[in-house]
Amino acid sequence: MAYFDAASAEPLHPSGREALLAALADGWADPARLHREGRRAQLLLEQAREAVAAEIGCRPDELSFTTSGTQSVHLGVLGAVQARQSATRGPGHLVASAVEHSSVLNAADWLARRTGTEVTLTGVDHTGRADVAEFAAAVQRERTLLACLQSANHEVGTLQPVAEVATACQEAGVPLLVDVAASAGRLPVPDGWSLLAASARKWGGPAGVGLLAVRKGTRWREPFPSDDRENRRVPGFPNVPAVLAAAASLSATSRERPSADTALRALVSRVRSEIPRTVPDSVVYGDPDARLPHIVTFSCLYVDGEALVTELDRAGFSVSSGSACVADTRQPSHVLAAMGALTHGNVRVSLPRDVRPASVSEFLEALPPIVAKVRETVRAANAAAP
């Protein structure tokens, strides 16, 4: 059995588990209350905030905890755009790369529909890397209110040119939201962001914790009804035990990063080089070097993604896929489509921190016959169809 879907959710780090259990006992009370239990929860929450702020390189008062990476992105995008919209100057313009996480595209779409904001999605090359010149040209357009770029792509692992894009945004006076969900805890947080979004379950924290950081001086206005929680950015009682677990996991993951990074990177390199040799008509996507340590994506011609994921699951390998038949939306992955990549027969392997190298070898051995079998089945089913 091997779990290869760490890019969706990394298993809870042992340090996170320990912190969670301790905090369930000590941090259950409402941190907004003045009584002893409330003060204790408040103290724990602020300790977690300081630890996470140190890891991502911001001031504690710039950082708010949300309930997911998606909520972080939604609040970040809507709050930054709406703070700069005005009745006299119009709904403005938003720029994002075409391969952003669906939460960014959904927030942009929401703004387009509700407020008339114009949205420009800029292109990528065949590795999924954003085109800097095109992105820079787009942010220079008048009334550009926000630009969004991920630190690394969540489906193919390619690193994005955040530094170059940040310079272009700075020159144009446009705030930049950087979605670090795919890389947080695995790579240092890039400089140059005005707003930052992340998700704890991707670094081995629990589900239900996201980060939203808003740099001092960046205009932001609450897009939804608010209260006095989390610097007035995220309404509702925060999940203090989960936040503490997320902070503990992030600190531990960052400490272990150098060794884990080297090991995962070598395993992914092996997958990248072996699959094209052992699986006929297969292609590996993403940048071979400028990439996340733990993600590799490939497509096999003449195979349907759902059957492939099902057969791999049966053989004990848990992977995800950008093929339409597997996606929640029944649409092929917009990332693969923007890259001009093959969307059928797609598999994303993302290795968890504690992966056994032997399980990667087993996967590489099991894959060629499974692909061959699915190819036969697909052909037979089609031949039998009317």
Binding site: G123, Y302, P332, A338, T343
Partner: protein, 115 residues
Amino acid sequence: MSRQQRSAQPGRRPGARAGVRRSAPGLEPQPVPAAGPQAPAPALTIDALGKKCPIPIIMLADRIGEVRIGQTVEVLADDPAAKTDLPAWCALKSHEFVGAAALPAGWSFLVRRSY
């Protein structure tokens, strides 16, 4: 069908969102010059309407050898993944993706056999 509607790059992102503008060259359908009277009709039409990917690609791979080098094959398909996968297959297999045109339901894709 009018070849004037055919674009060299079909919308790369199926399910494009309302109000979302794409500035990326290549993301918008690029009109190709209208084929003149000398442009031959496809030598073969494959009807993959109602078939899910990868079936349209399998049908094309199986039958492209039936036309001569330089001739074209038309593939009719309505699975949204075909819009991405037909050009991607052509790039992988070094055949020429001539273009795509919208049908009332689905698309017509034109592929030229290169070897």
